[in-house]
């Protein structure tokens, strides 16, 4: 056989034997000898070759590997997913910052509240101490039977009409 096909030239012997066996079973006569290429067939072959050349120049077969088509098909999804992911990450970052700020404010408010509570407690303690001292003073005066002494502080005379007002100041101990 003249066709330049490796499978044709190196066909296994068992396949050749099977073919001849099947030919016998079918009752096929021997294959006719290969026809010589007539001028008409030769011209037709050349015409077809020229047509193939013309088409190859006019419409070259474009190599379109499947991975490019796949990439083109997948690209919108990848871009969409990437965009959504970036947006999500930005939102998460923003939410983290907001939650940190809120936590900081909470901590500040708690600190202020605790400081206020401490101040109030201190004030209450001071007030209680003063009350206690006052009570002790009253009790001590009552025990002595004395009126509380007052310190009389003379006030300079005003330039206007004479005043008899005096400023009474409680005497200290």
């Amino acid at each position: 056989m003249s066709w330049s096909d490796p499978d044709r030239r190196f066909e296994p012997a068992e396949d050749v034997a099977l073919r001849s066996e099947l030919r016998e079973l079918l009752g096929l006569s021997e294959a006719p000898a290969m026809p010589e290429p007539t001028p008409e067939l030769r011209n037709l072959a050349e015409d077809l070759r020229r047509e193939a050349e013309r088409r190859r120049r006019t419409y070259p077969f474009r190599r379109r590997p499947s991975w490019q088509l796949m990439a083109a098909a997948v690209l919108p999804f990848v871009l969409g997913l990437g965009g959504a992911g970036a947006w999500g990450l930005a939102q998460k970052h923003r939410a983290d910052e907001l939650s940190q700020a809120v936590a900081q404010k909470d901590a500040d408010m708690q600190r202020v509240a605790s400081e206020a509570a401490a101040s109030q407690a201190e004030l209450a303690r001071e007030r209680a101490t003063r009350e206690q001292v006052q009570q002790q003073l009253v009790l001590a005066n009552a025990k002595l039977g004395q009126k509380p002494s007052y310190l009389v502080v003379p006030v300079p005379k005003p330039l206007g009409p004479e005043s008899t007002e005096t400023l009474r100041v409680k005497a200290g101990h």
């Binding site: 056989m1 003249s2 066709w3 330049s4 096909d5 490796p6 499978d7 044709r8 066909e11 396949d15 099977l18 073919r19 066996e21 099947l22 030919r23 079973l25 079918l26 009752g27 096929l28 006569s29 294959a31 006719p32 290969m34 026809p35 010589e36 290429p37 007539t38 067939l41 030769r42 037709l44 072959a45 077809l48 070759r49 047509e51 193939a52 050349e53 088409r55 190859r56 070259p60 077969f61």
Partner: protein, 177 residues
Amino acid sequence: MDPQSPGQPETPFGSTPAFHTAFAELYPRLVSYARRYGATYPEDIAQEAFVILMQREERVEHPTAFLYGTVRTLALTERRPMKNQNLSLEVVLEPGHAGSAAFEQVLNQEVRERMKLLSPTFREALWLFVVEGLAIKEISEILSIPEATVKTRIHRAKAQLREQLNPPSAGGVHVLV
């Protein structure tokens, strides 16, 4: 611009004389193969297959299988509107439809009758293997099935042929085993 690289042959079949010889051998076969699928213009389909083969820039490993596969696809595409892609040899099995005088000579009435009795699936593989003389690998490429399936179909066709020649009702007399 020359699309052929220096190491590549001039045609898929080698030199120009080799291409002419292969064309003279294959063209009538491809025409009859296209006619077998009920193609309206089998010559056009066979010529188109050759043009498509030579138009390709990359090397075709099995040009014969490529041509048969292209003819089959083009013929089936032509028939597609009829929604009848059942593989059949009925057209070519009728006398006068084999496509060439050489095929008429090969396909005598007895062969036609035996082929007709085979199931269409096995007949397809058998036809390509025996009548067209294609290799198992080429047939697997044309029919887009594994080589093992091609072999199985050919062996089942062989078994059916043997049954035809040696039916079970023959009373135990085996003519061919």
